[in-house]
């Protein structure tokens, strides 16, 4: 196609869009363009061979030369001037740009490299040309994702062709082409594969590619659902995706497809944000199922709700919350404390709060809107209406979560049967919406009989327990019932760390590669969200640990390292119970050395006592009975870093402060011996405790509230560490070993 033809095609599209614009847009008549052309011909005679018929058809018989290009430019400029004279220059440009932005990309793309053409467009056409050509130059590598989807589509079409002649799919594809321009450049070949016009696709943005591919994929799933039923369709889609996308998470991430395909539409499970519970439920709560969560009131449940809510929102789910014990502003503040903007989620329709709390303090007639939240009066039917409204308000999302906290208060007001019936209706509603729902109930709110009855309403029951005794707090979580799956029946212990519920395993796996023990961290976390009672628990545990310290060293293999013959992933409860905590010696050694020690110890220890986690630890604090460890040799600072740790809460990433120093005793091997033990959370943590990672108890808290960046905190931490190292040696070291040779 020559330059004049390309130019002519652009003018044809311009006239077409301006004479038949979208509803509400400015409209031109074909006769107006004909008049403009007539007048332009006076100036540019070459335009005689360029005609606009009465019905708007363009006849372009112009020769391919620069004079023709100039003539067409004149006509186009006069057209723009004419429109400007009608609606103003700025609006005219805006209207033309908006009308042509989407439809001219394919017309402009072939102009790439044609210098004689590109400089001959009036405003705003020059902007359209420049933008289109510059966009496609920036990146053109979609090869990997296209190759992947070619395989996926081929596999899918092969499956579908066994059930239909694919004419329905081709029809659907033609409809999708109206919305996704890239799909105009895809053909379904005779052997049921899809052929992408790579040159055109390469000019598209990641988002366009993603949207188009996902649209095709979803249409395939839709067709498959029609032919095979939803369950079978989802299974097939999952199987194909899992096969082709294994190990391709980075592609999914780049194109933002995770929520759309893998994690959203096809994933049956919804994460609670509490890994331990997710694991126990086989990956999370099944969509469409309702879980009763029985727990005592307190920090554990509050943290769990926070994790559930924030994880859901961060994962792109739509969340409905029913509150009975606090007003919506508490939830908004809670989200703010997690650096999440509740208003943004509410405006987007991703979060709806049903307020069944405010009726206690104010008169609410029926159901009232209060901004984005809905207030309900006391009676349950109005609460039901408010919930329905909330559900209707939520924007579509492949994953929807309901967090309902009202059973306890409801049973205090209404007869049990009424509450029971209401729960049944809610459950049915959420199931219909395919929502994953969690209903919270305080322990001992209901009689045993009522509790048994209400448990029947739900697909599963989870119990969180907190027991206190002998000066310590033990928490565990277990599944009491769960329909449709073979669930883990064991009660699994967990702790609160950094305002999160974390399984013992998780702490341990976090700790691997570091040289400090998990309980050390726990005990040093003295500023966990300023929760005094947590601190008390830790202190109580510390006392307990000291008392039991002697038993521990000889207790058995170290937790975190698998016992011989025991599959780490299969029985966490057993592993937790049968391991022992790291000794100071373990911490100071390399993993290889530690494992060797474990093997040596196992030879000696015949019976492994099973003890709760918190009973182990701290024996090193008993001078004279501590396990000897290697001495520390202070040397030049080798490396200082702020380590970013991935956190499901998104933008609030904790950081650890570390420093490596030289340890000549290990042949100059670099070793991390400094570990500022606190995750750094801006706005929340005021103090962090700095301690050398040599197993010594000494340490110092520093105030970080005045420091602005992790780098500043790091500098302060290093300075503190150096002070500590400059100071007196740990007593245990002095008692155990002579000073190393290079010590000054």
């Amino acid at each position: 196609m020559n330059d004049v033809e390309l130019y002519g095609n652009l003018i044809r599209e311009f006239i077409r869009k301006m004479t038949s614009p979208d509803i509400g847009e400015f409209r031109m008549e074909i006769s107006s363009f004909r008049i403009i052309l007539e007048r332009a011909r006076v100036q540019r005679t070459k335009l005689i061979k360029f005609n606009i018929t009465e019905n708007g058809r363009i006849v372009n018989d112009m020769e391919d030369d620069s004079g023709s290009i100039s003539a067409l430019e004149t006509f186009l400029r006069r057209s723009v001037d004419f429109i400007s004279s009608l609606i103003g220059e700025e609006l005219a440009r805006d209207v033309i740009y908006r009308n042509l932005k989407e439809s001219t990309r394919d017309l402009i793309e072939p102009m790439r490299g044609r210098e004689g053409l590109i400089g001959h467009f009036p405003e705003p056409f020059d902007m359209l040309v420049e933008q289109t050509l510059s966009t496609s130059v920036e990146k053109n590598d979609h090869e990997e994702v296209l190759g992947l989807f070619e395989d996926v589509f081929q596999a899918y079409l092969k499956e579908l062709s066994g059930h239909t002649d694919l004419s329905a799919f081709k029809l659907k594809l033609s409809i999708l082409r109206e919305k996704h321009r890239l799909l105009k450049h895809v053909t379904v070949t005779k052997n049921n594969s899809m052929d992408f016009d790579r040159d055109i696709w390469a000019t598209a943005t990641d988002e366009e590619v993603s949207d188009s591919l996902v649209a095709v994929f979803n249409s395939m799933v839709g067709l498959s659902t029609f032919l095979l039923g939803k369950e079978e369709a989802i299974k097939k889609a999952s199987r194909i995706l899992n096969y082709y996308f294994e190990g391709k998470a980075s592609i999914m991430e780049r194109y933002g497809m995770e929520d759309l395909i893998l994690e959203g539409a096809l994933n049956h499970k919804v994460s609670t944000g509490f890994q331990l519970l997710d694991d126990k439920m086989g990956g999370g709560i099944s969509k469409g199922s309702s879980i009763l969560f029985i727990s005592p009131s307190g920090i554990e449940r509050d943290i769990f709700i926070t994790q559930l809510l924030t994880t859901g929102l961060m994962d792109g789910a739509s969340v409905l919350m029913v509150l009975s014990k606090e007003p919506p502003r508490s939830i908004r503040m809670l989200l703010r404390s997690q650096d999440l903007d509740a208003n943004a989620f509410e405006e987007e329709g991703k979060l709806r709060i049903v307020d069944w709390f405010s009726w206690r303090g104010e008169r609410i007639i029926g159901v009232e809107r209060d901004g984005h939240s809905l207030k309900s009066s006391k009676i349950l039917s109005n609460l039901g209406i408010a919930i329905n409204k909330g559900l209707r308000d939520l924007t579509f999302s492949p994953t929807k979560i309901a967090i309902v906290h009202m059973i306890g208060p409801a049973t205090n007001i209404f007869e049990f049967t009424q509450v029971y019936n209401f729960m049944q209706r809610l459950r049915a509603k959420f199931k219909e919406e395919e929502m994953a729902s969690i209903f919270f109930l305080e322990t001992e709110t209901l009689s045993r009989e009522s509790l048994t009855r209400i448990m029947e309403v739900f697909d599963g029951v989870v119990e969180m327990k907190k027991t206190m005794g002998s000066g310590k707090v033990l928490r565990d979580i277990s599944i009491l019932t769960m329909s449709g799956m073979d669930y883990d029946t064991t009660a699994s212990p967990f702790v609160i760390r950094d305002s999160r519920l974390i399984s013992i395993d998780e702490i341990w796996s976090d700790n691997e590669g570091s040289w400090d023990g998990p309980m050390d961290r726990e005990l040093k976390d003295t500023d966990v969200d300023n929760k005094d009672h947590v601190q008390e628990e830790i202190e109580e545990a510390e006392v307990e640990l000291s008392d039991n310290a002697m038993d521990v060293d000889q207790a058995g293999p170290i937790r975190g390292y698998p016992e011989p013959g025991l599959d780490r992933g299969k029985d966490r409860g057993q592993k937790i119970g049968s391991g022992r905590s790291l000794t100071r010696k373990d911490r100071a050694q390399s993993p290889a050395q530690a494992k060797q020690d474990i093997a040596d110890q196992e030879d000696k220890v015949k019976k492994v006592p099973i003890r709760p986690l918190v009973k182990r630890k701290k024996k090193a604090s008993r001078p004279g009975k501590a396990t000897p460890g290697p001495s520390l040799v202070r040397g030049p600072i080798d490396k200082v870093s702020v380590e970013q740790v991935k956190d499901s809460r998104g933008p609030m990433r904790p950081a650890r402060v570390r420093k490596n120093i030289d340890t000549p005793e290990d042949g100059g091997k670099k070793r991390t011996i400094v570990d500022a033990q606190k995750t750094l959370k801006p706005k929340r943590v005021r103090k962090i405790r700095i301690a050398p990672g040599d197993g010594a108890k000494k340490g110092r808290s520093i105030d970080i509230s005045r420091l602005e960046s992790p780098e500043d905190i790091l500098k302060e931490a290093i300075s503190t560490i150096e002070d500590l190292l400059e100071g007196s040696e740990p007593r245990t070291h002095v008692a155990r070993r002579p000073p190393p040779k290079n010590r000054t």
Binding site: G366, K378, I379, S381, N382, G384, I385, N388, F414, R425
Partner: protein, 240 residues
């Protein structure tokens, strides 16, 4: 869903399989203040607005101003629809108020016969597809015996059916019955009962589709609210 007259009242058509079957007579009953008139206003207004169907609202008791005010409170602009000839708001109550009781009886201002004559002309003039008669209770006062009332009501219902108009008759209840005279429900094709209930010391409104010929319907008692834009029924909630 063919030949349905949707009320377009949120949640209600869902209970009636899409709306009132076309050409039927539908009775709305309830105690004072149960939103019967609002129901009728919305039925006429929504028909004109969403289905482009002209409708007649015939008021025998409430004044025109009162109805217009009630409608505008919920954002229903009857006046502009009246100007466009899509809604006919007829205040027969005004005419009745200007007569003495004996004159009213003598001239039969509120008799079914008079209404029928009036509507014959009005229907052909307006091309109305929907009619609300507010209320049938006022007509009943005219008849000395229930037998007579029943006979005349039956004749009137035949007229309405022959006119191929989908009508809503409003009847006030004062006790536990479904209608004032206990016979209106027998000549009507459907019965929707509006009511109040008290739960846990709080009153709330309920709606029950007690009867509906020619179609499946949900016979359960559902709560409804009067929101800023009118009635909203909650089909998902049930009052047990």
């Amino acid at each position: 869903m063919k030949n349905r007259k949707a009320t377009h009242i949120p949640g209600l058509d869902e209970l009636m399989n899409g709306g009132f079957p076309g050409g039927t007579i539908n009775l709305i009953t309830g105690p004072p203040g149960s939103a019967k008139s609002l129901f009728g206003i919305e039925y006429i207004y929504n028909g004109a607005r969403f289905d482009d169907e002209p409708g007649i609202y015939l008021s025998l008791e409430e004044s025109r101003d009162s109805i217009l005010r009630a409608a505008s409170n919920y954002g229903l602009d009857l006046t502009s629809f009246e100007k466009e000839g899509r809604v006919y708001l007829i205040d027969l109550g005004k005419m009745r108020a200007e007569c003495t009781a004996s004159e009213e009886l003598e001239w039969g201002l509120a008799s079914f016969e008079t209404l029928q004559d009036f509507l014959k002309n009005q229907l052909s003039f307006s091309g109305a597809k929907r009619l609300v008669l507010d209320s049938i209770t006022a007509v009943g006062v005219y008849y000395k015996s229930s037998e007579l009332f029943r006979r005349e009501l039956f004749k009137f219902s035949r007229f309405l059916r022959d006119s191929n108009i989908t009508s809503v008759l409003i009847s006030e209840t004062s006790g536990t019955g479904d209608s004032r005279y206990g016979i209106e429900e027998f000549i009507s094709d459907s019965l929707i009962k509006l009511d109040y209930e008290s739960t846990a010391g709080e009153y709330h409104r309920t709606l029950t589709v007690r009867k509906m010929r020619f179609t499946k319907h949900d016979p359960l008692k559902h709560p409804f609210l009067i929101m800023d834009n009118g009635i909203e029924v909650s089909p998902d909630e049930v009052i047990s």
